[in-house]
């Protein structure tokens, strides 16, 4: 039995230990209190490592390129953020860099930092819980998947006007986004908290 409060209405519930896959909802407002997902330490860690490597790799290669009438141009993710650098859109450069690569990278890196030692039998870092709390707080600001939708829209807009080429960074970012989306739908933050709890 665990004592839990509904995150949407604060109603207290005594939740019994549920079988994997079983959800528990709030009696009063129907909000999911226990999502029933189990965390596989190995899988979560492997995905987090893959995301950090893919995003880091993506920084140094062209994302997309276009050519038309003998002229051509390509852009890396950093160059995409830098388009706002001149004039009063300058702060957007930092915002775009953070939301598309900075925060998704940091969130994956925090998972590696917090769960890596557990997996290999080392003591958990002192700041693991605080780092994971930061990762949860930053969750709405990680916008890799929204940038991905943006890429699709931009592609449709220019594909008739010019020849478009996909760079190595495009595929790396594509893979990272898919892994992040998969992780969001299969990993339960409550289960990660209990992993951290068990180690402390």
């Amino acid at each position: 039995m665990t004592l839990l409060a509904c995150p949407a209405c604060d109603l207290l519930h005594e939740v019994p230990d549920l079988a994997p896959g079983r959800r528990a909802r709030c009696r009063r407002c129907d909000t999911v209190i226990v999502s029933g997902q189990r965390v596989s330490l190995d899988r979560t860690l492997a995905m987090a490592v893959a995301v950090t490597v893919l995003i880091f790799f993506a920084l140094f290669f062209p994302f997309l390129s276009i050519s038309e009438l003998g002229l051509s141009n390509s852009a890396t993710l950093i160059e995409i953020a830098l388009v706002f650098m001149s004039g009063w859109t300058a702060p957007l450069t930092i915002a775009v860099a953070l939301t598309i690569v900075g925060i998704p990278f940091l969130r994956a890196a925090i998972l590696v930092y917090a769960l890596g030692p557990i997996r290999f039998g080392y003591p958990i870092p002192d700041k693991a819980a605080q780092a994971f709390r930061l990762s949860q707080a930053l969750r709405p600001w990680a916008m890799a998947e929204i940038f991905f939708l943006g890429s699709a829209v931009a592609l449709v807009k220019i594909i008739d006007l010019a020849h478009v080429g996909f760079g190595a960074a495009f595929w790396a970012f594509c893979a990272a986004t898919l892994i992040i989306a998969f992780e969001r739908n299969t990993t339960d933050s409550a289960a990660i908290w209990s992993l951290i709890d068990d180690m402390e």
Binding site: E68, N73, A154
Partner: protein, 214 residues
């Protein structure tokens, strides 16, 4: 205020407080969560004031976001500047109805509904509401989930401006509306986050309130 006891007691009524970050339930006297060290608060502090402050900031930023151009295009010597709506109209003229719809929903429908829904939720705490409590919880969930997708148009501008730099042949540059729009999205996300859904349940529906007064 009458506590609603039909379903049991809340953490606050039991002298407990649930951490807003990691959901661990602790005694209410604790300052910080023993698990994640977040400040423990039973309800988000000054929730409604912060909701309205971010709401107003977001609304003020949304006005220039629609008046100034999102991007300027120079193609073979001709220069044109497109606002959000202007860009949607151009897309429809070129026959890209699907893309026009994505941009219209993300940049107009979602932000507008967000302003409406957040205002409605905040007002429903200040005075009796005809919407059921469950319906309001769902509205808040939906708005928190979709709000961030509005950013898509800013990313489209970034990609186009970074790619289409073909000198005299074609050149796309971001306009001032891009930052106004991004700020508006960020401010309304903060407004929705500042709203504490627990407030919806802290008072009973209007009927029971009258019973108490009688």
């Amino acid at each position: 205020m009458v506590p609603d006891r039909r379903y049991g007691v809340t953490a606050r009524e039991a002298g407990l407080v649930a951490c807003h970050r990691c959901e661990l339930v602790s005694e209410k006297d604790l300052q910080r969560c023993p698990r994640c060290n977040a400040r423990l608060r039973s309800r988000k502090p000054q929730s409604l004031q912060r909701v309205w402050a971010w709401w107003i900031a977001g609304f003020l930023a949304y006005i220039p976001a629609n008046l100034y151009p999102m991007l300027t295009t120079r193609q073979l010597g001709r220069e044109s500047a497109d606002t959000i709506i202007g860009g949607v109209i151009v897309l429809i003229e070129y026959g890209s109805v699907g893309i026009a719809l994505i941009i219209f929903v993300a940049s107009v429908v979602v932000p507008m509904s967000k302003f409406l829904v957040i205002a409605l939720l905040a007002l429903s705490i200040m005075r009796p509401s005809r919407l059921s409590q469950k319906a309001r919880i769902h509205l808040h969930e939906v708005i928190e989930f979709v709000g961030r997708w509005s950013m898509v148009d800013v990313f489209v501008v970034a990609l186009l401006a970074a790619l289409v730099q073909l000198g005299a042949a074609a050149e796309v540059n971001p306009g001032p509306a891009a930052i106004c729009f991004a700020l508006s999205v960020a401010f309304t996300m903060l407004s929705a986050q500042a709203f504490d859904p627990r407030l919806i349940w802290d008072t009973l529906p209007a009927k029971s309130k009258m019973e108490k007064q009688a």
